[in-house]
């Protein structure tokens, strides 16, 4: 399941991942951090090219399913303005054992950051700017 949502509901996503054949769930939750390069961050704003973001996330999801034996795979990104501590992205997998779950989960978030058309704007106490990806 891949989705763009206004608000992330972690309890619901946990339930979406549970599977009777899975003995392990691995979730990565990305949240709003209160600083970047020693500047105080107040909020983040996320914008997406919805239809293409869904297509790109689905490609990554399929790639993960081909690489590892997984029961369920989810990728969910939030849009709009989010405050410090709020979840903005969740990727997760369920699998029989943890050995598949950890690398698959890391793969999902690493690839999402490379290709999925989503942008974030950082708001500071005095101004704001669009973020360039970490090299």
């Amino acid at each position: 399941m891949v989705k763009i949502v206004d608000t992330i509901d972690l309890n619901k996503l946990y339930k979406d991942l549970v599977h009777p054949a899975a003995g392990g769930l691995c979730l990565f939750v990305g949240t709003v951090r209160d600083n970047t390069e020693s500047k105080e961050v107040t909020d983040l704003f996320f914008e997406t090219y919805d239809e293409m973001a869904i297509l790109e996330m689905e490609k990554i999801r399929q790639e993960a399913i081909e690489k590892w034996k997984l029961e369920k795979v989810i990728m969910v990104h939030a849009i709009g303005k989010k405050s410090v501590g709020e979840p903005v992205v969740v990727v997760g997998v369920s699998s029989a054992h943890r050995k598949e779950a950890f690398p698959a989960c890391q793969f999902l978030i690493d690839e999402l950051k490379k290709t999925v058309p989503i942008w974030k704007k950082e708001y500071f106490t005095d101004n704001s700017h669009w973020v360039s990806p970490t090299p």
Binding site: M52, I118, K120, V131, P133
Partner: protein, 77 residues
């Protein structure tokens, strides 16, 4: 005619999220040339172009009614 969608930094720089180009464009490269002339302040080398929701290369042809997206460096997550 092609429809252009702009996002993030590029949307702010062109001043609109969606616009049309009526001129005939042969391929992505000709679109890049057109955009560089019209908006010289944007560093186009870091902007990816998608055609009909797929990342495109310079030699990819453009057709009437294509949906083009101007994609500055992504920063999701």
């Amino acid at each position: 005619m092609v429809v252009i969608k702009a996002f993030g930094q590029v949307k702010e720089q062109v001043g609109m999220g969606e616009f049309r180009i009526e001129e005939e464009m042969q391929n992505v490269k000709s679109l890049r040339t057109y955009l560089s002339d019209k908006y010289p302040a944007i560093s186009w080398s870091s902007v990816a172009i998608a055609v009909n929701k797929q990342y495109a290369q310079d030699q990819d042809p453009l057709h009437q009614g294509d949906e083009i997206a101007l994609i500055p460096p992504v920063s999701g997550g």
